[in-house]
């Protein structure tokens, strides 16, 4: 009994207390002050940019992650193991380093950056750089959720559809896709949640220009350093609430994906 109480206290102190503290801090100046902090033009643009680019990253990785998972499961590629290791690599690289890597490749001083810049395609210190950073950091999420579900599907199901005359597209849409949709959705939500919170890689690659490339997490750090803990807390609270909503959604989807297995 005492032991259980101890565990409960430890987890509460570690997780729940800071969460409550930031919510308290956010609303310390009253609700109007909190709303004012969130709707401040720079803060609002930072939040919208974070949400928008995260949505873009989620959609792209939802599609590409599914395709990669399919390739890993169905193709006896010679470099399968290497590909699989590459997919996991972003998890092992500190995200700040990930951002630096992208600047090293696409930065305006690099060869590639200069060529792209000549075509007015700035990647580093522009929104494409942020999206690339988010795609990089969240690459494994969809792949690793979809892969095991795909692996359990029997290729004979697709063959059965084919012998009954179904086209490739119909087979994909009505046989392959439905059982993996919950897994894809779960992975996509995870990508989105992680992207909204991403700091390190973006800080390095985005240039952090207010209204253009300044995302919410980087804005928060700026507010903290600039001596505005109240507005930092308010924007943090928005991200926090979003996370609190997305996490159970993602967990429910993962469970749904698992229960579809026969």
């Amino acid at each position: 009994m005492l032991l259980r109480l101890g565990f409960g206290t430890y987890v509460s102190a570690l997780v729940a207390a800071p969460v409550l503290a930031i919510l308290y801090e956010a609303f310390a100046g009253g609700l109007p002050a909190c709303i004012a902090a969130i709707t401040d033009p720079v803060a609002k643009d930072a939040l919208l940019l974070s949400l928008g680019l995260s949505a873009v990253a989620a959609v792209i990785n939802g599609v590409m992650g599914t395709a990669i998972a399919w390739g890993l499961v169905r193709w006896a590629l010679p470099g399968r193991k290497l590909l699989s290791a590459l997919v996991d690599l972003p998890l092992a690289i500190p995200t700040l380093v990930a951002g630096i890597l992208l600047v090293a490749l696409y930065g305006p001083q690099t060869g590639l950056g200069r060529v792209l810049g000549g075509w007015h395609m700035d990647i580093a210190f522009a929104t494409p750089g942020i999206v690339l950073a988010l795609l990089f950091v969240t690459l494994p999420f969809v792949v690793r959720v979809v892969e095991p579900v795909l692996a359990e599907l029997d290729p004979a199901e697709e063959e059965a559809a084919t012998t009954m005359g179904a086209s490739r597209w119909l087979t994909f849409r009505s046989v392959l896709l439905p059982p993996i949709v919950p897994a894809i959705a779960a992975g996509t939500v995870q990508v989105f949640a992680r992207s909204v919170a991403e700091f390190g890689s973006i800080a390095a690659v985005s240039g952090n220009i207010p209204h253009h490339t300044l995302t919410a997490p980087v804005y928060i750090l700026g507010e903290v350093e600039g001596g505005s803990p109240g507005s930092a807390a308010a924007v943090s609270a928005v991200l926090l609430v979003l996370t609190l909503i997305l996490q159970p959604v993602s967990r429910g989807l993962v469970q749904a994906a698992g229960s579809r297995r026969v």
């Binding site: 029997d154 004979a156 199901e157 063959e159 059965a160 559809a161 084919t162 012998t163 009954m164 005359g165 179904a166 086209s167 119909l170 009505s174 046989v175 439905p178 059982p179 579809r260 026969v262």
Partner: protein
């Protein structure tokens, strides 16, 4: 709709899995491809369906060559060993899938699904998911799904391999009855000879990618064309040695020729009886339901066994340790040479 296969060849890398296989199946026939596992039977089936490409050879369906046709254009129904039902679709949706693909009207789909649910005896279970059915039920749904679009040809790949023995026997009888009703030309693959003989009009014995013999069950049983077939079919003794004047060691054998031979004797083609001046000693007597299996060792050390009806008078006095005389009533002999893939076949 008849089917003809001509000179089929398939290799995986350098390993040949199908070697120059040719056969014909007449309209309305139910034919079994029988042979040991890994002998290329399923590969032949998949080539006919268009699921795997052949390296050489021709497939003719209904008088037209179909090698260039994609699997989806061949109008061949395929039943997979592990059912391969669409797991997220109900039984009805599974059965209706092929009709949906054809663009059949909702009304037609419903009527055909109802008919097939009646035929497979699963009326009232149409809105179940595959996961909610037993193995035997799933396989029947898989069969109904394959039959729904009225294919020219029905291929079944080890259709009863994944269900337990009792259900398998039921499904066998049911498949035979079903075939007698719908008459769809059918080929099914099995490694179980009892299954092949019980269900099919004709049996084709496939071994190591080759067609060893094609014939009715009786022809295969009574006139095995090769030593492999003789060994594979039934429960057999293989006696190896020099045959001289119709004798091999201590046994008189009704076979012609002489020299080193493999003599194949079915377990029901010999008689044992109690005799003190006999040539063998009984080792073991095993009751097998309606039959009894008797194993003995000849005085020269060779092992031999036979099966008798449970109430046979020949069994009088026969028990472990008894001396017996042996008469071989029927045997077949092949000149001795190493057999490819030689092994003891299960009964």
């Amino acid at each position: 709709m008849g089917i003809r296969v001509q000179g089929l060849v398939k290799r995986y890398g350098t390993v040949p899995v199908v070697q120059d296989v040719s056969f014909e199946v007449r309209t309305g026939e139910l034919v079994a491809l029988l042979g040991p596992s890994g002998g290329g039977k399923s590969t032949i089936l998949r080539i006919i369906a268009g699921l795997d490409p052949a390296d050489d050879g021709e497939v003719w369906l209904d008088g037209a060559r179909v090698d260039a046709l994609h699997a989806r254009e061949r109008q061949v129904g395929f039943v997979f060993q592990h059912y391969a039902l669409f797991r997220h679709m109900t039984v009805e949706q599974n059965i209706a899938f092929g009709l949906r693909v054809q663009g059949a009207s909702k009304e037609h789909q419903r009527r055909r699904v109802d008919d097939l649910l009646n035929i497979i005896g699963l009326r009232g279970l149409g809105d179940r998911l595959p996961a909610e059915l037993s193995g035997g039920q799933r396989q029947r749904v898989a069969l109904a799904r394959a039959l729904a679009p009225e294919p020219k040809l029905l291929l079944l790949d080890e259709p009863f391999g994944a269900v337990d023995a009792k259900v398998r026997e039921e499904l066998r009888r049911w498949l035979r009855r079903l075939h007698d009703e719908v008459h769809t030309t059918s080929i099914f693959v099995t490694h179980d000879q009892e299954e092949a003989f019980a269900v099919s009009d004709r049996v084709m014995i496939i071994q190591q990618g080759r067609l060893e013999q094609a014939g009715t069950p009786l022809e295969i049983l009574d006139a095995p064309a090769t030593e492999f077939v003789a060994r594979f079919v039934g429960d057999v003794n293989v006696l190896a040695g020099d045959v001289v004047d119709g004798r091999l060691g201590l046994l008189a054998l009704p076979v012609a020729g002489s020299g080193p031979m493999h003599v194949i004797v079915r377990s029901y083609d010999l008689k044992f009886w109690r005799a003190d001046d006999g040539v063998a000693v009984v080792q073991r007597v095993t009751p097998l339901g309606d039959r009894v299996r008797v194993e003995a060792i000849l005085d020269d050390g060779a092992a031999i066994f036979a099966q008798f009806p449970r109430r046979s008078s020949l069994l009088t006095g026969i028990g472990a340790g008894a001396r017996i005389a042996i008469e071989v009533t029927h045997a077949r002999a092949w000149p001795a040479r190493a057999l490819p893939g030689e092994h003891k076949c299960p009964s």
